[in-house]
Amino acid sequence: MLPLLRHARYVLSENPVTGLAFGLFAMFLVAAILGPVLAPYNPMQSNAAMALKPPSAAHWFGTDQLGRDIFSRVLVATRLDLTIAFASVILAFLLGALSGVAAGYFGGWTDRIVGRLADTIMAFPLFVLAMGIVAALGNEVINIVIATAIINFPLYARVARAEANVRRDAGFVEAARLSGNGETRVLLGHILPNIMPIMMVQMSLTMGYAILNAAGLSFIGLGVRPPAAEWGIMVAEGANFIQSGEWWIALFPGLALMLAVFCFNLLGDGLRDIIDPRMRT
């Protein structure tokens, strides 16, 4: 692992922005893990007397309509939002990469089916598809994850297919096949690990979109079930209060959302530089 670390140190020094992204990512991880412990108040506990108070020493981010502490809710929400993002990205990766690699490797019918499926989903207006799924299956967290995963599926399938296609006749694949490995072993054991770097870059980029998607669903009322704390819902709730002057209810969850998406996008760029210099686009 040493060369990769040294290599990573080189990229970080050359590119401070990626350093910033890793710092942010670490911060979000800590918030996700220790959120409930660190939160100064119980995020679910309403308190009519303290409703709609601006940011103050007692409540850093102020309080919402039911008097709940927004700072605690933003902190605790990190876990839910990251889980939604990670779960949907991993699910999309599994669905997309496996079918993509199979399509790229076997070609012929598999390729055509996966290709057409990806096209159909791409042709579908993303947001309506997500809404349809969540409206049909109910607004459980798992459904939001499935909806977001299906939307990102074509992205992974397409990239995986292209990479697998390129590597299908590569030397190491030929060697693996000649040394008696079955088709699936070649696919999973050799081609898939080889395209992992590119996949990881895709995953980090779509992490950002996954969170935005969950937030968008909440804005039109199909998001996570109340009273759970989730950035999207909090921004949606706060939206009605911007006009009447309580700007902080929507602002802080919005900022957290922005920072997270921002961090994942920069992370994607950074990962790409570290893993695959050729791909310095």
Binding site: H7, Y10, V11, P277
Partner: protein
């Protein structure tokens, strides 16, 4: 290594040129104290294995090094000025007008979505070789000079519609449009078949002779160099190991590496079986403990003095060698 200037006027004289590349895995000392000169009307070959620094030398002189490259020392005197010291604008003024360059794979070295005629016209207009509206005519004129049949129609073609040889002629037209004093040809014929190779080399020779242009011909093909060049400079791992007139070097190579190189070059006099490969490979130029003579690890004639700084010994008329134990 600085070559002693002969009687005629040098078009270009490179002295003590060193270049470094900052890469992910450390600093690579690509060139170290490179020096040679080229006279007006003379053709000099820069010969060596790939990765020996031939092209980097040319890029350094032209000022089109990669962003990671940095010239750490040396001068390149051309037309009374040191090219390495010029600002980007001034150097850009010279490039394509006083000195120009042609490259290896011609088809990718031309703009794929722009008609070839327009690409020649661009250089002419840029350097005042022609006004904007009669540049097309001048470009067609240039195509005639490089003997391209049916130039009016060909000028409208795109690079992917032309053969490799044809593209190389276009490149030459672009380079020589403003009649430069120096042409650097970086393996111009490597990508071409043998017959086209000869045609291109003759064409360059003719055009050089017409205008007394100095030519630097970079190649790894010693036979080609022997046939078309007046003098040969042999490079190994960023050093100039030997420089001599072509016949002198072929007749009596003094540096062990030159001899090995000759032994590895197929030709009429050398039969296939007797071809000997050169043991070992180029040293890793990132090493901090590089010996003064970078060939010593592979040299059978290594002696203790080889550990001392390299000498520059004159062993004949314009024949120099950097070796303590020459042949």
């Amino acid at each position: 290594m600085t070559a002693v200037p002969a009687i005629s006027v040098p078009a270009l004289s490179v002295e003590n040129l060193s270049v470094e590349f900052r890469t992910r895995s450390g600093v690579v000392k690509v060139l170290e104290h490179v020096g040679f000169s080229v006279d007006k009307g003379e053709t000099v070959a820069l010969v060596g294995e790939s990765g020996s620094g031939k092209s980097v030398t040319a890029f350094a002189v032209m000022g089109i090094l990669d962003a990671a490259g940095k010239v750490t020392s040396g001068r390149a005197m051309f037309g009374g000025a040191d090219l390495l010291a010029l600002s980007e604008q001034d150097l850009a003024e010279q490039r394509g007008r006083e000195l120009s360059m042609i490259f290896q794979n011609p088809r990718t070295a031309l703009n794929p979505i722009r008609r070839v005629g327009r690409q020649i016209a661009d250089v002419l207009v840029r350097h005042g070789g022609a006004t904007r509206n009669d540049a097309p005519r001048a470009a067609i004129e240039m195509l005639k000079r490089v003997r391209i049949p049916d130039p009016e129609r060909r000028a409208e073609a795109y690079p992917f519609e032309l053969s490799g040889g044809m593209c190389q002629r276009i490149m030459i037209a672009v380079a020589l449009a403003c009649r430069p004093a120096l042409l650097i040809a970086d393996e111009p014929t490597t990508g071409l078949d043998v017959t086209t190779q000869a045609v291109i080399m003759d064409l360059i020779g003719e055009l050089a002779a017409e205008s007394g242009m100095a030519t630097i011909f970079i190649t790894h093909d010693l036979a080609l160099a022997a046939e078309y060049c007046d003098r040969i400079v042999v490079m190994h791992a960023g050093h100039i190991v030997e420089a001599a007139p072509a016949r002198e070097l072929f007749g009596h190579p003094r540096h062990p590496y030159s001899a090995k190189l000759l032994a590895a070059t197929p030709g009429e006099t050398v039969s296939l079986e007797s071809l000997a490969s050169i043991p070992g490979g180029l040293p890793d130029l990132r090493r901090l403990d590089l010996p003064p003579c970078r060939y010593s690890d592979r040299c059978e004639r290594r002696i203790d003095r080889c550990a001392e700084p390299l000498p520059q010994r004159t062993v004949g008329e314009r024949h120099l060698v950097a070796c303590w134990n020459p042949l």
